[in-house]
Symmetry: C2
Subunit: 406 residues, 2 copies
């Protein structure tokens, strides 16, 4: 007997028929003798519909009221899934965030889970009851409904698994696991059986949209064993585990990409101390997150180019801030470029293998792909390229690191 | 300065545009210096959509889960209306049933309000805050969401008005008041300025669909002054008040009708003691409510016809029960007739005026309308007629009691 958390996203509960399918999946685990808590999202499209209503009512609105409206989507799903389970003869009840309770900070719209009291749920496991919990929501210190931000149901599931000391947290999605690259681009991509938390965290941050970054951080912190698997097919998925649970370590486990960033270049700014602090300080004050940064050595010791990337959504606010600074930093021209892609390789094995970055740069050079910016961490190398090279770069790197399936 | 409860039904909040209109109506009362609590229903169509989902998931379902699903409709409306008010510069917050709290019995799907603690709402009135409360929902003794049954938002509004000791409870609807008859049938019908609780209660029970019966009972019990008015036009509506607040009493205040009943005749049953008890006892055991009853005097002292009405929805269950009794009561034939209408006249003045029923019967006879069953109370007379006479009977009685507008 194991204790399991099963999480189903919006697509998996997108219709009455799919909710009934989910009930069958849950039934199977219950009949195998497991204690089960289920976490569900709103039916697909529902959260968008609700968000749309809030923005039609008022363009600037109270995040507390936004949470009241938007959290209703998950409320519908937990009720329907509990009914579907009962219809199959399974003892089940729904739990809203405030009922568990899932206590969060009072930062409405993007609250953080602080504490989950699951004593009542555990008590009912003894009676064979399945807990069907609303993802994405909690109750704030102000006793009002909070939401965790888009994709927050993954975080709800992992946090509940941690609180329940669950043996595993299964994340059911519309893909059947974590791949060595996006299979729509790299046709030779293959599903990974296992991946470390650290790698998964980099992949999630770098563009793989299967798991929410915050949920992976939380799983890593609390050592919750995660599995990503398909809600439509009955196949084993990808396990996200501790490094020591992985026997054969790849140098590079995956290639990923994101088109969500934009490049900005400040041409010919003064090459004097404090310029970078001025620029990035002003951007931070405007809540613009800067990702990759490169500053060229100046030829004459007087002026240099400063290049960096920001989220595409932040490009306009960033340009507004920078326009105001142009004179102050003696910038000749301000050149935005949204047509870029960040391609990354991720792997725990990099720590012990030299020459990984070199292999990457050589492979791209061979295809005539120019690298605009580079950034690295212990287990990843990212490069910024012109967007048109996305597919070519991903396929090239997938081959260069021997990830192509035989 | 007065303390007001304003209630808006599903049609009145049926779109973003209408929610913004409601916010304007509320703003006007706030700017007049009043303390305001608003009660809203789900956006029109929404409750039906949610109910449909529950019945698609499982034909027989847990009423507790039904309440979780269906109560989400009002949750959306309170959030949106609070935003719309804030957008107009009005301090407002939403309150769900469990937040107020509105404590109810745990009879899920048709709970009764037991207690409302509105101390926090009153405290916030002092800060000029408008309370936007979800109608139709509460929290049961089992700490789970309950709903009051269809149309329950009227009851929520009146109960809140009673708890708040409000000066008035305004029920905004898609009609602009209570009419002497359905204006779609009686073109000469006119709006009543005032009506007593007792008359309103009879009208609501007898087919007028403007107010839910339970809400009128509650208003009468707690002496909550009700006003029914249009949410689309700015006109005074109809006040529902104590008898002593009405200066000029009509003999008959209104004519109403309902097609929701069906007639059943047991032909030639034994005219012996205990037959009625057997028949109506068996129907009561099957939870079938019987309304009008008539038993003819038997010609030979041996057999008689027993006729009564039940709700149209109860006709099939009633016939099933009666089929099983046919032999026991020596019934020759069981004749159902769903094509009937109950037409009623209602008026406090009847208590002190003789001959009202006689006037009614004579007016119908003059038009050749046959009366099948009669029932009376202190302030109403109801007759059962063939359904085809509905419009003719309503117009005839409206004229006979001098209700036609000049």
């Amino acid at each position: 007997m194991a204790r399991l958390v099963m999480k189903f996203g919006g697509t998996s509960v997108g219709s009455v028929e799919r909710i009934k399918n989910v009930a069958q999946r849950v039934k199977k685990e219950v009949e195998a003798g497991h204690e089960v808590a289920v976490v569900v999202s709103a039916m697909s499209g529902e959260t968008n519909r609700l968000v749309q209503l809030t923005s039609e009512v008022a363009s600037l609105h109270d995040a507390r009221e936004y949470d009241v409206v938007v959290s209703s989507g998950e409320q519908v799903t937990v009720g329907l899934l509990s009914m579907a389970l009962q219809d199959l003869g399974i003892n089940a009840r729904s739990w809203l965030g405030w009922q568990v309770p899932i206590k969060t900070s009072a930062v409405h719209g993007s609250a953080r889970i602080e504490e989950i009291d699951c004593s009542e749920i555990v008590k009912r496991f003894a009676d064979g009851q399945v807990a069907v919990c609303a993802g994405f929501q909690g109750i704030g210190s102000d006793a009002r409904i909070t939401t965790l931000g888009r994709g927050g149901s993954d975080t709800s599931a992992v946090a509940l698994a941690a609180a329940l000391e669950a043996d595993r947290c299964d994340i059911y999605t519309d893909v059947d696991g974590i791949y060595t690259a996006d299979p729509r681009i790299a046709t030779k991509a293959s599903k990974l059986d296992r991946i470390t938390y650290e790698e998964m965290l980099e992949l999630a941050s770098l563009g793989a949209k299967v798991l929410q970054t915050r949920s992976v951080e939380m799983a890593m912190k609390h050592r919750v064993k995660l599995q990503v698997l398909s809600s439509f097919e009955e196949l084993p998925g990808t396990l996200v585990v501790d490094e020591e649970d992985i026997v054969e370590q790849h140098v590079v486990s995956g290639v990923t990409y994101t088109r969500d960033e934009a490049k900005v270049t400040l041409q010919q700014v003064s090459d004097t101390p404090g310029i970078a602090a001025t620029v990035f300080g002003a951007l931070a004050d405007a809540h613009v997150n800067v990702d990759m940064i490169v500053q060229n050595v100046s030829e004459n010791g007087k002026a240099t180019d400063l290049t960096f990337t920001v989220g595409k959504n932040d490009l306009q606010p960033a340009l507004k801030v920078l326009e105001g600074l142009k004179d102050k930093v003696n910038c000749k021209a301000l050149v935005p470029d949204p047509n870029v892609v960040k391609v990354s390789i991720v792997g725990m094995g990099m720590r012990s293998h030299a020459g990984v970055a070199q292999t990457m740069f050589a492979a791209l050079a061979e295809k005539g792909i120019n690298i605009q910016v580079i950034s690295t961490s212990e287990i990843k190398v990212s490069v910024l390229l012109a967007e048109e090279y996305t597919e070519l770069a991903v396929r090239t790197l997938h081959s260069a690191f021997n990830l192509d399936a035989a």
